[in-house]
Amino acid sequence: MAGKDFGELVLVLGDAHIPHRAAFIPEKFQRMLVPNKMQHVICTGNSKDQYEGLRTLAPNVHMVSGDLDEGSFPESKVVQIGQFRIGVMHGHQIAPWGDPHSLGMFQRRLDVDILITGHTHKNEVNEFDGKWFINPGSITGAYSSLHADVTPSFILLAIQGNKVVTYVYQLLGDTVDVSKSEFQK
């Protein structure tokens, strides 16, 4: 018999580009990302080296292939967490990169409530046409061809019932900045 729903925590990150564009995940982020805090990890790609480490963080790890991952992981993934269908793609396949209409097309194609993509190295939490589009940015602050000044970031989703609370973590200088927002189905 189903018990009370206590909710789930989902870590969203990607585009680490280790070792080619960055050496390591920032030390303050590493201290925060410890096992037994979250139920799921969603990774947008280009973070192959991190895969084994991510598996120690949570029982469920969902990784997709970035353009530099040589197809080691699937192109896209759909995951059901609580009441939300969540789609994940790296985003280099979606042109123009970061364009809301193009993202919307893939959200409809995957038939998901939330579409998570990366590639732009720019963190976002946007609503468009009643659906939500999330980009965790680059967890290492690796440079991208789109812009050079990249703030290291990742996102934590707190999902319970029909509500999602998003925490965006950014490393500004040496300080971890957290900004919180929420949305509902």
Binding site: M1, G3, L9, R31, V176
Partner: protein
């Protein structure tokens, strides 16, 4: 409506039936008032449900409620204060309790009885809320087995359609569990000085001695009481009998413990049932030749009838009922040598009383079941000396100051004098 006195009488005779058990327990444990007026009962049930709702909100943090407090789930690792540590502690606690629940098997019931029960999810919640609300003791393994007894009583009530008009299964489960734990939680403390350990020792070494000195001597020679006794006491003897017999024993236990407001009434009742069970095991224990055989009698489920234990306990209580209670020991009246006498015969009142029978009302000391004709002064003194020796044996393990050692020497002196006097 239920009458407290009648329920107690039935509980101490043949037990309460499955359809009425939950109501009987509510009455015996004070969850509903003994006045029995319909209005008062409804009101108290409603009040306890509201209380539980409040406790649940307070002690069962989830992600939603935790998000509402300031702070994010992760920066506590960097030293920030956060309401999230409460959430994580609660999640860890739930995982620990669930592990015990997953392994819960009660003898006499199918293995999946609880996982298929309508109470399954509630069991986790009730234990989590109670433990979080009682941080001084928290959750200990074994509490889930006490909760299982409550669940069985409530399942029967539902099956018989006897439940309260407006049911709230989880709240009712909580209020019965809480009422038991108010009296029993202390017994889950651990350690050599814990109350439950002392209670077992008193039961085996002192109380049993009053009724069955030879059995007591044998047990005190062979067995440390907490080895079998912790399980007996903590689990209310529920592992010693199959369900539903274990529930019948609880009927009697709760009835016998209906208090005069004395916080130790429950512990004393536990000790009486402890001794009653030892007495029922007596023939097999006297036939055992070493520690292993004694323990195999004491640590395996009992083949005897629960009603034998209940009736013995009832007679022990009746013998006590004309007594002065002093320092948790059962002292009927005390003659001028300090030896206890019982004012009513326990086991049929045959002869074999003390030669020096100075009890206040002149009735002979009741003979014990086994040593029917052995009761005379010499055995009394020797029994007392042996009792002192065994207590000394235990205490000397803890005597690590010169004053303590000196005090123990003094006691030993008394024991030796008693033994000399008995020769």
């Amino acid at each position: 409506m239920l009458d407290l006195k009648k329920v107690c009488e039935r509980a101490l005779q043949e037990g309460v039936g499955p359809g009425e058990r939950a109501w009987a327990w509510r009455l015996l444990l004070g969850v509903i008032p003994a006045s029995g007026e319909a209005g008062a009962v409804e009101a108290s049930l409603k009040a306890s449900r509201l209380r539980y709702e409040k406790l649940r909100r307070e002690h069962l943090p989830d992600i939603s409620s935790s998000c509402e407090e300031a702070g994010d789930p992760l920066t506590m690792a960097l030293g920030a204060e956060s309401g999230w540590s409460r959430f994580y502690a609660s999640a860890d606690l739930r995982a620990e309790i669930q592990k015990d629940l997953d392994r819960l098997v009660i003898s006499g019931l199918p293995e999946d009885h609880f996982s298929r029960s309508s109470f399954w999810a509630s069991m986790l919640t009730v234990l989590t809320v109670w433990s979080t609300a009682h941080p001084d003791i928290g959750y200990r393994q074994g509490m889930h087995e006490i909760l299982a007894l409550v669940v069985l009583a409530l399942e029967d009530e539902i099956a018989y359609g006897c439940g309260p008009a407006e049911g709230d299964d989880e709240a009712d489960c909580f209020s019965l569990f809480e009422a038991i734990m108010v009296r029993h939680a202390d017994h889950f403390h651990a350690g050599p000085e814990a109350p439950v350990v002392a209670a077992c020792r008193t039961a085996q070494a002192e109380l049993l001695e009053l009724y069955e000195p030879r059995l007591a001597r044998r047990l005190n020679d062979y067995v440390e009481p907490q080895i079998y006794g912790l399980r007996w006491a903590r689990l209310l003897f529920s592992r010693e009998f199959e369900a539903p017999a274990s529930l019948t024993l609880c009927d009697a236990l709760f009835a016998a413990a209906v208090g005069d407001g004395d916080p130790l009434a429950f512990r004393r009742t536990l000790q009486i049932f402890f001794v009653a069970l030892l007495l029922v095991c007596a023939p097999r224990l006297m036939a055992a030749t070493d520690e292993m055989e004694c323990l195999s009698v004491l640590m395996r489920p009992q083949q005897c009838s629960v009603l034998d234990v209940v009736s013995l306990a009832r007679r022990l209580i009746e013998a006590q009922s004309q007594t002065r209670l002093a320092n948790d020991t059962i002292v009927a009246s005390v003659d001028d040598r300090g030896l206890p006498h019982f004012t009513t015969p326990l086991f049929g009142g045959e002869g074999g009383g003390n030669a020096d029978d100075d009890s206040a009302n002149g009735s002979p000391r009741a003979p014990a079941v086994i040593s029917a004709n052995d009761d005379d002064d010499d055995d009394d003194d020797e029994a007392l000396a042996n009792g002192l020796d065994s207590a000394l044996g235990v205490l000397s393990k803890y005597a690590n100051t010169p004053e303590a050692v000196a005090a123990l020497d003094k006691i030993k002196f008394v024991a030796d004098r008693l033994r000399v006097a008995s020769v």
